[in-house]
Symmetry: C2
Subunit: 211 residues, 2 copies
């Protein structure tokens, strides 16, 4: 498999974590978003959204959307599982993942920040305030949800899908100097994850394309 | 089961479609977003995100996030399936759903539009332009993806998860007068879905709380 991704992209990191948890090897193909490589061929032609990550299977088929890719990895390589077995528990884990993957990240994605700055003319400090507002709103929700689900990790004592999204989101928040002391459970889970090789060894700072 | 939802909320409609496809009965509990009922008890205390929909199971447990709820319905009531059986096909359907559920809808959600207007001071015409920009960007991607997946419906000739998201998104786009002629496959699939009872009988216009 090949993973088209970018070291700092949190959606990319989610998939790197999932691949590492499953013990799967892949070719790391960097797409430098700040240099607009997402609009260059061959990536742009295959990944019509111009978003990373994209996972290319050995038969050449392209998969997109990080949460869909993680579910694919879980279905095709069931051990260790990214989701619990009970349907309600699975729904809770997926909801946690989507609290981040739908309600925090897309609103703060690079293309949205660029639109605020370039099309709507907001100065950087207003763009940063926007970013921090949605992180604060979203992590407050995640913190409350974790009160009902967290053990050592986001759902119980086994790392899984929710953690694949939580850790990259915290990394992003830290990059944008978001205050995080109001989310002690989020930060405790984050620290527990980062102690695991699947998270530590895929951290943006150790990626081949890290600046 | 009880479904807390709002007739015009596209995320709510997704779940109404799923429940109807599975032939499941539920109590319809309206939460009027424009009247800020999402911040009132008992909803606000249980649904910490203050977002609709929420599905309350017969044992009293609350499920949130429309795509997580749809997966739950599919796992607990497998027929008719919302997802195909092949893992790659499942990933493609989920990616289509997330192209809408992650990359279009959250950026145009009510709370984001309110922030643009109330916090950043944009007049309504700029808010509308924002809305149409992300619909145009997102549906262009969906249109291209459908070229590889669509039959009569979004993925092949069986309605499923992707359609549960596509139809409410088109409805939203029409409400905001977004031009849609550039997305003929999207509109063809939308029309095919609306001919089915699961879609027609859950349409916002026939909901109990429709204005």
């Amino acid at each position: 498999m090949k993973l088209y991704n970018y070291f700092r992209s949190s959606a990319s990191w989610r998939v790197r974590i999932g691949l590492a948890m499953k013990g799967l090897d892949y070719d790391y193909i960097p797409i430098h978003l700040a240099k607009n490589e997402q609009f260059a061929e061959p990536f742009a032609n295959q990944q019509v959204s111009h978003l990373v990550p994209a996972l290319v299977l050995d038969d050449g088929r392209w998969l997109s959307q990080s949460m869909a890719i993680l579910e694919y990895l879980d279905e095709t390589h069931p051990e260790p599982p990214l989701l619990p077995r009970d349907p309600v528990a699975r729904a809770q884990v997926r909801a946690l993942a989507q609290d981040i993957g739908c309600d925090i990240h897309p609103v703060n994605n690079l293309r949205v920040l660029r639109y605020l700055k370039n099309d709507l003319g907001h100065p950087q400090d207003e763009v940063d305030r926007w970013y921090r507002h949605w992180v604060a709103t979203g992590l407050a929700i995640v913190e409350q949800r974790l009160a009902g689900t967290a053990g050592q990790f986001g759902f119980g004592d086994t790392p899984g899908l929710a953690d694949c999204l939580l850790v990259p989101q915290v990394y992003n928040a830290q990059r944008f100097d978001c205050p995080l002391e109001a989310y002690p459970t989020v930060m405790r889970v984050n620290a527990a994850c980062l102690a695991l090789p699947a998270f530590a060894n895929t951290h943006p700072s150790v990626c081949p394309d890290a600046a």
